[in-house]
């Protein structure tokens, strides 16, 4: 959620004599901070960490396609492999290490029961195209999760197959387009607020729509009157994030939905921030027609260093018939059915009065099953009372941070009332020449992952802080102390901020060089015994 190198930083001379620098070491290591070469610099193409019989080549049905020549894939023994990746892992910040307040990303604790359940052989070791009657439990998981997602959102149906939030957005927009086309109503425009995630306009464009901005009020919310003025027969849908990316609930949501529906258009809600309201309010009651749910945010499936996610889309009655294949449905007799291309028409005729008109398939197989088991485990663990408490504690923590820091950090929307699950600050009040990036990098030295920077775009030097509900008060107090300290240094113009981080495995990285001379793969043979990474100058 960040614009790269937003400050225009360029590599400069390192500051000599930083605190704690100490003497040079012969290895480049610093005690527990261990440098690690690339696998191409330590492995060989002859080494393997797996015991397999040597190929004897006695049989060959490969025709003329047998591979000749070397591929160039390095191998490591098992101990070396475990050590390589363990060393790499220690160069990562993670939720397990501390508060990870990346706004809009909902970096909450990932319960380990979820991992255990997802690895049960009945879930892990099942093929997607096994005969349907051998996977009844898997279909029940999908159906049970679907049931609770519908229940929690007050919607009519849910498309389970989208593979991440952005894929879910696409699913929702394609349902809308299919519904409009079914009534012979071609429309061209989707309205998106300027504060929206970049995926919203990208999705709308991908689905063949022209994107126009919705103006915002000075309070950081959708300008209802301006929206009403823009609605017309060319508008297919409005994409709204609620709570929005300024961390605010769209108070006029119901009025927005009513106006959009009156104009014959649909309301798409970006559900990235559902964590703030789960169990407190149902989007279906606010007139939403489609909303994706990031299971890796609200429902705690692990972020995994950038996926896999999962983005089921809850749908209103008007959109449900267009949901993508395959889908699962429980019929009156309690049986859970898997509806694929083969059975869609007959099933629709028998159980849905012929109303199903799926827009098609969005991916192979049945969606992110491994995420479904985890999310269902999480929902059942929390239950109705726990999920409500999740939203309340997430919102409480964010407001506590907002009110504990609004004397040292500009909080542009704080005067208008409480925030939801994330607190938004700007760089107003920093000394001349000091940026949000400087503050963020200094926060790294304090042992925290920075907040989302420079997003939303509507606030200058934005800092979006989402603590989530899985932090203790003591942990949050410690974070507040750290953020206060670096904010004060930014206001005072402390030059050492500009060279932060000082204590991370790497100092600031030259993103401009990376883009100007892209080196996107290791170039060269496997050369074990090569020098460790730290002693090399890359970017050739």
């Amino acid at each position: 959620m960040n614009a790269p190198n937003a400050s225009g930083w360029k590599p400069g001379t390192p500051v000599v004599g930083d605190a704690g620098e100490g003497p040079a070491t012969s290895t480049g290591n610093r005690a527990l901070m261990l440098e690690e070469p690339l696998i191409f610099e330590i492995g060989t193409t002859r080494t393997t960490g797996v015991d397999l019989p040597a190929a004897n080549g006695s049989q060959n049905r490969l025709g003329s396609f047998a591979r000749k020549g070397e591929i160039g894939l390095p191998g490591l023994s098992e101990p070396e492999t475990v050590r390589h990746y363990t060393r790499l892992s220690r160069q990562n910040y993670a939720i397990d290490l501390g508060l990870f307040p990346l706004g809009s990303c909902t970096m909450k604790h990932n319960p380990r029961l979820n991992e255990k359940v997802a690895r049960m052989p009945g879930f892990l070791d099942v093929h997607p195209l096994q005969p349907v009657d051998t996977v009844g439990g898997a279909l029940e998981v999908i159906n049970e999760l679907a049931f609770w997602l519908i229940d929690l959102t007050g919607m009519h149906g849910v498309a389970m197959t989208p593979k991440a939030g952005a894929h879910g957005e696409l699913c929702g927009i394609l349902c809308i387009r299919a519904a409009l086309e079914a009534r012979g109503d071609a429309r061209e425009v989707i309205l998106v607020p300027e504060s929206a995630h970049g995926t919203n306009p990208a999705t709308a464009a991908f689905a063949g729509y022209r994107v126009e901005d919705i103006p915002a009020t000075a309070e950081g919310r959708v300008d209802l009157e301006a929206l009403k003025a823009r609605l017309g027969p060319d508008v297919a849908a409005v994409m709204i994030t609620n709570p929005n990316t300024c961390g605010l609930f769209e108070r006029d949501m119901k009025a927005i939905s009513d106006a959009v529906h009156a104009a014959g258009a649909f309301v798409y809600c970006d559900g990235a921030n559902f964590n703030a309201i789960v169990g407190k309010v149902r989007p279906g009651d606010l007139g939403v027609d489609a909303m994706h749910i990031n299971l890796h945010k609200t429902f705690s499936t692990p972020h995994g260093g950038g996926g896999p996610g999962s983005g089921p889309v809850v749908l209103s009655e008007a959109l449900s018939p267009y949901a993508p294949l395959p889908y699962t449905a429980r019929t009156a007799d309690g049986v859970v059915h898997l509806i694929e291309e083969e059975s869609a028409e007959a099933f629709s005729a028998e159980h849905f009065g012929g109303k199903m008109a799926s827009f098609g398939r969005m991916s192979a197989f049945h969606g992110q099953m491994g995420m479904f088991t985890r999310a269902l485990t999480y929902i059942l663990s929390h239950g109705a009372d726990g999920l409500k408490q999740v939203a309340e504690d997430a919102v409480l923590n964010a407001n506590y941070i907002l009110r504990s820091l609004d004397d040292v950090l500009d909080a542009p929307f704080a005067p208008s009332g409480p925030c939801m699950h994330e607190a938004l600050f700007s760089d107003k009040g920093f000394a001349e020449g000091f940026s949000t990036l400087d503050l963020a990098k200094a926060l790294i030295d304090e042992g925290f992952h920075p907040m989302t920077m420079y997003f939303p775009l509507v606030v200058h030097g934005a800092m979006l802080v989402e603590p989530t509900e899985t932090e203790s008060k003591a942990g949050i107090d410690q974070f507040i102390t750290a953020l206060r300290s670096v904010a004060e240094r930014a206001r005072a113009g402390d030059e050492s901020l500009k060279t932060a981080p000082h204590f991370a495995p790497r100092r600031r990285l030259d993103e401009t060089l990376a883009a100007r001379k892209p080196v996107l793969a290791y170039d060269g043979p496997c050369t074990p015994g090569g020098k460790p990474a730290a002693s090399e100058i890359g970017g050739q």
Binding site: T47, F65, Q91, G122, P201, K280, P308, P501
Partner: protein, 453 residues
């Protein structure tokens, strides 16, 4: 509630600091009529770890796990042995609970892994550059078609008849909305793919030709001939691979002239998982196409002290910068699956991958020969790697059903894949990997003898 650290004392103190009377005051912006008065109805209250585990275990037990059957299912998802250390490494919290490396100084672990992964994929595919992953093979295939439209400024994609039907459907669905024209076909039931027929469909409006290698019936396709024909018309060749282990035995698509190579990486490290999450692989042979690629890219650079480091780069292609002008709307991809793939491939190394591929091929040959001896079974393929098609002389779906009762998961019937096409219904796609024992093969063969008699 075990995942919520705040106590009531904490909550009161925090509300006091905020200056709010109660928690509802913080939800004041939510219209009162929409606010739920109590816990949501229907959903039970919170449950202990033990209780939830019991519930989920009961659901898991209703599935027939592959390990409990003689197992021959493939068609885009393959069961391989995953070394124990793969799962250990991906469960390290520093990988599992990190996110997209937006702050590279404290994400070098993920970034270096992605750089290594990109290089492994590029080498395996015979390409110059691979990205940091897509959702899965089918969505990667669509993204490749969309990319070919951008590169060639043409909008007609020709799909091979032997491309996985789910991939065809995914491409066709997306194309409906973008206005791309998709020319597809059914697989021809013969020992070798119909290359002439495919080449005849390429014209000077064709943006790309999409060919699976090995194909849905397990056959190996002469990509070089198709590449030549496509290039002669100014079209790109997109090769789709659903079984990366095969590339330990057969020539890489890049080497045979494919311009974009995409595929499913699930077979290495990821596991079956009933179809997801999987791992989309995406690579280009010519570096000049890099700026038209979708998805994240990790690149090498230096830090302020001159030390080598890695960052996400060329982001100006992506949605968070370019918004509606981005090359794709993809954001989150399949990071942890990419790690699993990379760790598995590092454990194997080139030697291990070649041995693994050879063992798969040896057992597949054994199975094909044994099944060919079963009366009523015809092995279709002239060539294959670890998957081949048998014709059974009757609807294979019925045969699969009857064998399931004997705890044999005999393969994927073409009726399941192509329900609308009766002419294909006698086909069964049989996959054999190193996890298949010779005893399993004998079990399948003798059961088929019985069922087909």
């Amino acid at each position: 509630m075990r995942y919520l650290p705040l106590t009531d004392t904490d909550r009161s103190a925090m509300l006091a600091k905020i200056g709010a009377a109660d928690i509802d005051a913080l939800f004041a912006d939510v219209p009162a009529e929409a606010r739920l008065s109590g816990p949501i109805e229907g959903l039970p209250l919170h449950q202990s770890e033990m209780a939830v585990e019991r519930h989920m275990r009961a659901l898991a037990k209703k599935n027939l796990a592959a390990a409990d059957a003689a197992f021959f299912c493939g068609a885009g998802a393959y069961r391989h042995h995953i070394p124990a250390s793969v799962d250990h490494i991906i469960q390290r919290g520093e990988f599992l609970t990190a996110y997209t490396p937006y702050q590279p100084e404290i994400a070098q672990g993920t970034l270096q892994m992605l750089f290594e992964f990109q290089t492994q994929v590029a080498r395996l595919y015979g390409c110059a550059v691979a990205n940091a992953s897509m959702y899965d093979g089918s969505t990667a295939a669509w993204e490749a078609v969309a990319m070919a439209s951008r590169v060639t400024r043409r909008r007609r994609a020709v799909l091979s008849g032997a491309l996985h039907p789910h991939y065809v459907e995914t491409i066709r669905t997306m194309a409906k909305f973008t206005g791309d024209e998709i020319a597809d076909a059914l697989p021809t039931i013969q020992g070798s793919p119909d290359i002439t027929g495919l080449i005849d469909r390429i014209d000077d409006q064709t943006s790309c030709v999409v060919v699976q290698y090995p194909d849905i019936l397990g056959r190996l396709t002469d990509l070089a001939a198709i590449a030549e024909a496509a290039h002669a018309k100014g079209a790109l060749l997109i090769a789709v691979n659903t079984e990366p282990v095969a590339l330990g035995a057969i020539k890489s698509p890049g080497e045979l002239g494919a311009d974009i190579v995409v595929g499913e990486g699930q077979a290495l490290g990821v596991g079956l998982q009933f179809g997801g999450p999987y791992l989309g692989l995406f690579a280009v042979r010519d570096p000049k196409h890099v700026r038209q690629m979708p998805g994240r890219l990790c690149g090498e650079t230096v830090d302020a002290e001159g030390k080598r480091g890695f960052v996400l780069t060329l982001s100006t292609r992506e949605q968070h910068i370019r918004r509606e002008k981005a090359t794709s709307n993809i954001c989150t991809n399949s990071g942890l699956c990419a790690l699993a793939f990379s760790v598995h491939l590092t454990l194997l190394g080139e030697e291990g991958l070649r041995r693994l591929a050879a063992e798969n091929h040896r057992l597949a040959c054994l199975a094909a020969d044994r099944l060919a001896g079963v009366p009523g079974v015809l092995v279709l393929n002239d060539s294959f790697f670890n998957e081949f098609t048998v014709m059974l002389g009757q609807d294979a779906r019925d045969v699969v059903r009857r064998l399931t009762d004997k705890h044999i998961l005999a393969g994927v019937s073409l009726g399941r894949l192509y329900p609308a096409h009766d002419a294909l219904h006698e086909g069964l796609v049989v996959a054999v990997t190193e996890t298949t024992s010779e005893e399993d093969i004998e079990t399948l063969a003798s059961a088929l003898e019985e069922v087909l008699a």
